[in-house]
């Protein structure tokens, strides 16, 4: 992902650009300033959308003709797994998959295939990534983001928007906002993003938005404790809900008492993370954290 730092304006391919979501969001991304170089939809090759964006039948053709460095996937769920494999096969360095509803066993296989490649997948079921006033590769409302030095990462889309809005309102712009997605298995973990923010010279502090279920916040806490030397603020949603119980006894055996909001908050605190107690305190908590180190 480090190429995001050095590439000020990635070349973006939109898979599914001719669909409803594809047309809408590629237009919004263009308006935000994103350099969309091509679209791909099977059977629609030869068309142009948004005046001059060429559409290709396949990702391979789009790559040959336009050399994209990022693929934004906006295809419906039943076709998204294939779209991801197509982008991996074309050796696109970064895939941002917005699509919600990819079967979890597909994601297991995708993860296992990604291991042997140079491709990074962000998502699925995520709002995408945004570098304020530079580019938006996703579906977030661009207006709430401002340029600055906060690295923002979230599983939830709307909570990422909420956090960005609070930060921007208080004058804390963002270096980059990355939605990793809410699915049980996703391409990029908190830890991957934290590593990027930790090394990114444009990032001074980090805001991590989590929620109950799974143990990815606990894994993030481990990494923060060991490696992150920038202030981190976290908010965990679902504090008054029972932990996700979908996996029944078997899940409980695997995850134990991890996965509850209390356990996540405790682990993050122990790793030196500032905790925003409620949803309305995210901006304020960051303000305090960043004052502390100055």
């Amino acid at each position: 992902m480090s190429f995001l730092t050095i590439d000020p304006q990635p070349r973006v391919l939109v898979q599914g650009i001719t669909g409803h979501a594809g047309l809408l969001h590629s237009k919004l991304c263009l308006e935000y300033g994103t350099n969309i170089v091509a679209g791909a939809t099977p059977g629609k090759g030869g068309q142009y959308v948004h005046t001059n964006i060429p559409v290709f039948n396949s990702v391979a053709e789009a790559c040959r003709e336009t050399a994209p460095t990022v693929s934004l996937i906006l295809v419906p769920a039943p076709f998204a797994t294939d779209a991801i494999y197509e982008a991996i096969d074309a050796k696109i360095p970064l895939i941002v998959c917005i699509t919600e509803g990819i079967p979890v066993q597909d994601m297991l296989r995708i993860k296992s295939v990604l291991k042997g490649t140079q491709t990074r997948l962000i998502g699925p079921n995520c709002p995408g990534i945004l570098a304020p006033h530079r580019y938006k590769i996703g579906i977030m409302p661009g207006a709430i983001f401002k340029p600055g030095s906060v690295g923002l990462v979230s599983r939830s889309g709307t909570l990422m928007f909420e956090a960005a809005w609070q930060l921007s309102t208080l004058g804390y712009g963002q270096s980059m906002a990355i939605g990793i997605g809410g699915d049980p298995i996703n391409g990029t973990s908190y830890q991957d993003v934290l590593r990027y923010f930790n090394e990114d010279p444009a990032t001074e502090g980090i805001v991590l938005i989590g929620e109950i279920g799974g143990i990815s916040e606990e894994q993030a806490a481990d990494y923060i404790r060991q490696s992150v030397r920038k202030p981190v603020v976290a908010f965990i949603a679902g504090q008054t809900l029972p932990s996700n119980q979908r996996m029944g006894h078997a899940g409980a055996i695997i995850e134990g008492n991890k996965g509850t909001a209390a356990h996540k908050i405790e682990t993050l605190k122990a790793a030196g993370v500032y905790i925003a107690p409620t949803i309305t305190d995210i901006g304020e908590t960051y303000a305090q954290a960043i004052q502390n180190i100055k």
């Binding site: 297991l108 709307t158 809005w165 008054t240 996996m247 006894h249 309305t280």
Partner: protein, 392 residues
């Protein structure tokens, strides 16, 4: 998607996993009762089991008659047992006080066995792979075994590119301390179970207990199967297996615009699972109790918004309504517009607080200026207003 016991067993049987013989009844018609009696005419006793999406049925009771959700009866009392369950409401440790309505009853043979094991396959999120969990202590609360005898539980991570290997199935058969034909049949059963897990796009298959029969065969005595909702578009499950009563939702993540019922008096309307949960958290932290919470999702249609507003504005359990939406793709102005119209239509007496931000929120603010509901900038303030008027 949760499946009922009888549905799960029918699926497992199609993957060559042995199950006790059983018949499912959804209406106590004379024909159905005759079928059941015919099937079990050589059995001194049968088990009659209420089909709900929760555990603890044996120790649970029916609201209407106090009877248990699992009854062992002789042929004479079969009809009585069935009618004590069908269309009544079963309360167990896991259903909560409201219980669950029983729309199907499963009658099975009383199966004799010599040993009981635990076996499940689920997704290990931390290691990002399927995992098989096995214990030679089956038929009991496996979480207790995990806590008290962790050494009696084995976990075998599966490489999804290879699937479950023979050596891994052997490790489980060894854990069960089986030999001879039981060992061989156990390995085959485990391999079949993993095939079922993949072919059905399951997120969980739990067999508790998995038993060793007198004939040294491995039989799935009870089973729980969860299918990935995201895979239903391709899972070749007969439509008849789609649950006849909706499962208890425990997550807002899986079904956009799902409605979760709770015990309080404030209806919460939000978009995105994270924002829903965080809003609910804040409501609770400020002393409120939600009657329900509804996830509008990312791109609700006007029709859907209307039906949700109809429900919320006319709901007798809700004294107040909290709307907290952060528009990404979702346009706040449409929501504001529909809200204004629905308030005019229903003229609700409840208190309503609205906080909208993001996509088209300025337009929404303009629209709401003329409406009887205030547009709030501050969520804390909105909730406090609501709590004040609800407590009046």
């Amino acid at each position: 998607m949760n499946l009922h016991e009888y549905q799960a067993k029918a699926l497992l049987e199609s993957f060559q996993i042995l199950i006790p013989s059983g018949v499912c009844i959804q209406e106590a018609t004379p024909e159905n009762l005759a079928t059941v009696k015919g099937t079990f005419k050589n059995h001194a006793q049968v088990a009659v089991k209420a089909q709900i999406h929760a555990g603890g049925r044996g120790k649970g009771h029916f609201k209407e008659n106090g009877k248990s959700g699992v009854q062992l009866v002789s042929g004479d009392c079969l009809e009585k047992a069935i009618t004590s369950m069908l269309h009544n409401t079963l309360v167990t440790k896991q259903t909560g006080e409201e219980g669950q309505k029983v729309n199907a009853v499963y009658v099975t043979e009383v199966f004799h066995y010599t040993k009981a094991f635990y076996l499940s396959i689920c997704i290990d999120r931390a290691h990002q792979c399927p995992v098989v969990i096995a214990s030679r202590q089956g038929g009991v609360d496996i979480e207790t075994v995990a806590a008290t005898h962790p050494d009696q539980i084995i976990r075998i991570p599966i490489n999804p590119s290879i699937g479950l290997c023979h050596f891994q199935a052997r490790a489980i058969a060894n854990c069960f301390q089986l030999t001879g034909s039981a060992y061989t049949h156990c390995i085959q059963t485990i391999l079949n179970l993993y095939k079922a897990f993949v072919a059905l796009d399951a997120t969980l298959i739990e067999i508790n207990p998995l038993v060793l029969s007198d004939q040294q065969q491995i039989v799935a005595l009870d089973s729980k199967v969860q299918i990935d909702d995201n895979a239903l578009f391709r899972t070749s499950i007969s439509p008849s297996l789609v649950p006849i009563q909706s499962p208890t939702p425990t997550s807002t993540k899986e079904a956009p615009s799902s409605i979760i019922r709770l015990d309080g008096n404030i209806a919460c309307l939000s978009n995105g699972a994270g924002l829903c949960m965080a809003t609910l958290d804040l409501l609770h932290q400020l002393g409120g109790q939600a009657s329900c919470f509804i996830d509008l999702g990312d791109s609700a249609s006007e029709q859907k918004i209307d039906s949700i507003l109809d429900l919320v504005l006319t709901d007798s359990q809700s004294k107040g309504v909290l709307i907290n939406v952060f528009g990404g793709t979702f346009p706040c102005d449409i929501l504001a517009q529909r809200l204004i119209q629905k308030i005019q239509q229903h003229r609700p007496t409840k208190s309503i607080q609205v906080r909208l931000e993001g996509n088209k929120s300025e337009e929404a603010r303009e629209l709401l200026k003329t409406a009887p509901v205030p547009f709030m900038d501050d969520l804390q303030q909105a909730i406090q207003n609501l709590l004040r008027s609800v407590s009046l």
